[in-house]
């Protein structure tokens, strides 16, 4: 009995090693194999995306149009819940059996740096697609070593939404495209009235897009240009972070954590003069706000005009067995027809400029924010987040240390000094992983 146990253990060890080695190996070696599926020939493409019913309806709508142009390509739309999407994608890629088209966001960088994605640049050149027809930030967000690894489908930026009634009440001028952070601060201070729990600005925090709105437009950055150095401790970035801390604690023009309400939206309930947040607030404000007038504007300017970009894109894994057909799919979804269908929702900005600038997008219907067009200004000012293979971990570091600054009034210098140690270590790890 004892002997057979030992056998069993040995076998387990061997299978464990084989399993883990096999997994990585297959993903690594799959680079060269070229695609089957010539254009024009019958082909099947599996297409995975995340999201809910809304996303599903959009994808199916685009597919209906696609069928008319490419009846020979059958697309299997595979909806994966957002929760667990990354894990699923990673598992299929590691198993060497990826979907032919995959939707990705910032994690594209990890996949690209490990050589699992097809470089789309040759396809773009061959088919005469000019990437300058797309917003610059959206293309740059999916470029790895100057190669386009994915084509952007949707984008948005941090924007400013403001409550016109609160501005009128204090006789303040509405925010414009040319507003500066000083204008912003002064207005927020005027609106703030803690006795009635009214704040100039809604929640601001350690979430990357939130703090980076200040940092980048103040002229700072999280990482150096080549993403190998931690630069959040530069004087510009420090000033931006100090400003956020002051907004929360010194002048209390933004609520402290304990002043937030669980389950109550301070923006739609009219408790805040402004919020600086994602574009998803536009449609929900249009649907939910009845008690006051509101509008949108680009985020204020500092030393620079900069607003963080949210986006997602479609990529083709190197191990896809049907790259030509997959490319047709990507091209169609991110091309004019697909973009127009997205534009009709008026939510996120279509990265294809000609569509974004057309009425298909700008004509937003009932109860529109008057300055909806400022979305385009924001898109021009957008900057792509500095993704690395350590994107998630660096975000956790920011959440931890900036959280200490914003929630516990820790000194900016102390917290950033500690954050630097951690991020430096992560960047060192990133360097090794990318080699």
């Amino acid at each position: 009995m004892k002997k057979s146990w030992r056998m069993l253990l040995a076998m387990l060890l061997v299978t464990a090693m084989m399993f883990s080695a096999g997994c990585g190996g297959s993903a690594d070696t799959g680079g060269g194999a070229d695609s089957g599926g010539e254009p024009g020939k019958a082909a099947e493409v599996s297409f995975s995306y995340w999201g809910g019913d809304f996303d599903k309806a959009r994808m199916e709508k685009i597919y209906e149009e696609f069928k008319k142009v490419h009846p020979e390509i059958k697309v299997n739309l595979i909806q994966i819940p957002s929760d667990g999407y990354e894990q699923k994608q990673l598992a299929t890629m590691a198993a060497g059996n990826p979907y032919d088209v995959v939707q990705l966001a910032e994690s594209f960088y990890s996949y690209a740096s490990k050589g699992t994605l097809e470089d789309l640049t040759p396809y773009l050149e061959r088919d005469g697609i000019d990437t300058s027809d797309y917003y610059d930030a959206a293309i740059r967000a999916y470029s790895y070593q100057d190669k386009v690894m994915a084509m952007p489908m949707r984008m948005g930026t941090m924007i400013l939404l403001y409550n016109k009634n609160l501005f009128d009440q204090h006789g303040l001028q509405y925010p414009s495209d040319e507003w500066t952070w000083d204008d912003f601060y002064a207005a927020a201070k005027t609106i703030t009235d803690p006795k009635n729990s009214i704040f100039g600005l809604g929640g601001v925090g350690s979430w990357w897009a939130s703090y980076q709105t200040w940092v980048y437009s103040y002229g700072g950055s999280l990482l150096s240009e080549d993403r190998t150095q931690f630069t959040l401790d530069s004087p510009e970035a420090k000033k931006a972070i100090q400003t956020i801390q002051d907004m929360i604690w010194k002048d209390n023009i933004a609520p402290q954590a304990s002043q937030l309400l669980q389950g109550v939206d301070m923006w739609t309930s009219g408790k805040v003069g402004m919020i600086i947040d994602g574009p998803w607030h536009i449609l929900s404000s249009q649907a939910n706000i009845k008690d006051f007038d509101w509008d949108i504007a680009p985020v204020p300017k500092g030393a620079k005009e900069a607003s963080p970009l949210f986006s997602n894109a479609f990529a083709i894994p190197k191990l896809s067995k049907n790259k030509e057909a997959a490319w047709e799919v990507v091209k169609f979804w991110t091309g004019e027809t697909g973009q127009k269908i997205l534009a009709a929702e008026h939510g996120e900005i279509p990265p294809l400029k000609s569509v974004a600038e057309s009425d298909a997008y700008l004509n937003i219907g009932d109860n529109p924010p008057a300055n909806f067009k400022s979305q385009l200004t924001s898109a021009q000012r957008a900057f792509a987040p500095q993704a690395t293979v350590k994107w998630d971990e660096i975000n956790r570091a920011a959440d931890t240390y900036l959280g200490q600054i914003f929630n516990e009034q820790r000194s900016v210098d102390d917290a950033l000094a500690e954050m630097k140690i951690e991020v430096d270590r992560l960047l060192e790890e990133a360097k090794q992983l990318e080699q």
Partner: protein, 320 residues
Amino acid sequence: MPRFLHKTNDLEGSIMVKTRRARSLAKRESRNFWLYTSPWIIGFVAFTAFPFLSSFILSFMQWDVLSPPKFVGIDNYVQLSQDKTYFWKDLNNTLYYALIGVPLTIILGLAVSVLLSKPIRGINFYRIVFYLPAVFGGVAVLKLWTYLLSPGTGDGMNPGLINAMLGWFGIQGPGWSQDPHWAKPAVLLVGLWGVGGSMMIWLPALASVPKDLLEAGEIDGANRFQRFWRITVPLITPAIFFQLTMGIIGSFQIFMEPVIMPGSSKTWTDSLMVVLFDNAFRFYKMGYASAIAWVIFIMIMLVTLVNLYFSRRWVYYESK
């Protein structure tokens, strides 16, 4: 052939038949044994032993799932021991949950069960009421608690129900999850809500305390407290020991509460299981996560062994 020889032969033959039969019976029995136990064995090997061993091997490797694993020796463990921001902080939080949470759960659980062991009218109703929280569990309830515990301490802010009720008595409620000092107690508080669930263990234990001993105590002039402390408690030490052991193991594995109702800074409330999960399934550092898993395992093992060792001094089994 002489008759006796024939008989002998016969005898030999029947013995041989018998042994053959016995052998085939033994064979069939062993085959059946493997057959009937195979669901468990296969399950154990595939879902327990294999991951267990893999994680041990992985804990000495660096593996991001996409690239092949790389052997790094004890690097993961070294890095872990130096990780003050997450690992040590989260270990500290976990120990807090164990050291404060487990005794509180035992004392409150026992207190509730003692009350619910009294033969009063409508006792079943009370038992159901106190047991229900153990049935309702999970994310929805935790979400509800985040609303109940909403602080709203600013001027003119509407607090959650708990702080509102404290306000009726002129008490300024704490910031709960939004306050670095109250975030962990908030997590414990939510756990205590389900304390009635432990009556499944306490009630039978209390019922098994012999009535004659309690009566004898009463006749000898022991008051209620003395009877409880000197007769009941010693007799239910096996149940206390069981709750203590399971409670400590459970509190080392606390996961859902800090994930669903984290503090304003996650590091206020995160437990070891959260840092394990984050490393495995957010950062895809499987080796590092495996190392954490083994550290948790070894800690639970050690604490349980220490517990077991000292139990000889205070746990009383009737059979001894």
